[in-house]
């Protein structure tokens, strides 16, 4: 600012003189400052995208995936009668053949503990493309629903639909229902564990015992821990309790949501 401008009269006329009389250095500082403000706004927007927009986007895609899968399902949506002690025995559960390709949605998971309307698709593969938009990802080479061994899935704790946000609220005894085109598999939650990210043995056929030969049907869910972080993984273990074919109707607890999904199918 030159000495003459410093003594310019106060008022709109003087303000205009000052603006037009900026030196190149002042312009550079002004533009640099505005770039910094822009960068700050971009970072805030990026956080908004990650924590908010990705959920809206992923929820929409997951609803679509569930709808498309339901279009392939064939069975009543009225709840099955409460099985009596000597109720129908459906024998060994039907098991889907293994899926090689990544990105195919083949099951829906219902977890009433996460809310009455909680239903999420399960898609083959655990790549970013699957986990970021198609709900729970099935670890390739682990068992299919109802199969002896370990049906292992991964899901986001935060962002991209945050399908396993409430994983720490599960209480032993909670039911986890898996629906495929063959039937409904009821798993019962047993316990959770917090491990480091390289503990691949948690998805072994017998979780944490890589050498053991499985005789039971496990379900293992992995997600990041702590919430909003990924230094560790939280693992939830469940064991299969019963199954019923699709033609028998859904278990009563999830029947309303199954009917709801069937309505949205197409």
């Amino acid at each position: 600012m030159s000495r003459r401008e410093a003594h310019a009269p106060v008022g709109s006329h003087g303000a205009r003189n000052r603006r037009q009389g900026r030196s190149p250095g002042q312009w550079i500082i002004q533009i640099f400052g505005e770039l910094l403000i822009t960068l700050g706004l971009l970072l805030v927007l990026y956080v908004a995208w990650e924590l908010w927009w990705t959920n809206i986007d992923a929820n929409r895609k997951q609803d679509q995936a569930v709808g498309n899968l339901f279009a392939e399902f064939d069975g009543p949506v009225a709840p099955a009668p409460e099985p009596a002690a000597d109720g129908p025995d459906y024998g060994d559960p039907a098991v889907l053949p293994a899926i090689e390709e990544e990105g195919r949605t083949f099951a829906v998971v219902y977890i009433p503990r996460f809310g009455d309307t909680y239903s999420r698709p399960v898609t083959s593969g655990v790549g970013t493309a699957v986990l970021d938009s198609l709900g729970l990802g099935h670890y390739p080479s682990t068992a299919m629903p109802g199969e002896v061994g370990n049906f292992a899935v991964a899901g986001h704790r935060q962002t991209h639909g945050q399908v396993l946000d409430a994983i720490h609220t599960l209480v032993p005894g909670d039911k986890i229902y898996v629906q495929t085109k063959d039937g409904y598999y009821t798993y019962v939650y047993r316990n959770n564990q917090i491990v480091l990210p390289d503990r691949v043995d948690v998805i072994a056929p017998v979780p944490t015992q890589p050498a053991a030969v499985p005789t039971e049907r496990f379900l293992t869910m992995t997600s990041c821990n702590p919430r909003f972080g990924a230094e560790e993984r939280i693992i939830a273990y469940a064991v299969m309790d019963s199954w019923q074919p699709l033609s028998a109707g859904p278990p009563a607890e999830i029947a309303p949501q199954v009917a709801n999904n069937a309505e949205g199918a197409g």
């Binding site: 927007l45 990650e50 935060q158 992995t222």
Partner: protein
């Protein structure tokens, strides 16, 4: 920079305000649907949402 853009917009003040709002909305939409999804693949923030188990 932003002042210059705003002054360069045509029309009376209220038209310029409306134009500016539309421009801002367009930029935000572009960022949300294209730029951020692309950027997240390189982002140092992405490992924070990794939920899988894998051998190291």
């Amino acid at each position: 920079m932003y002042g210059w853009i705003f002054r360069s917009l045509p029309g009376p003040l209220w038209v310029r305000i409306l134009t500016a709002l539309v421009l801002i909305a367009g930029v935000v939409l572009l960022l949300m649907t294209w730029v951020f999804p692309w950027f997240s693949e390189f982002s140092f923030l992405s490992p924070l949402t990794d939920s899988t188990i894998e051998g190291s």
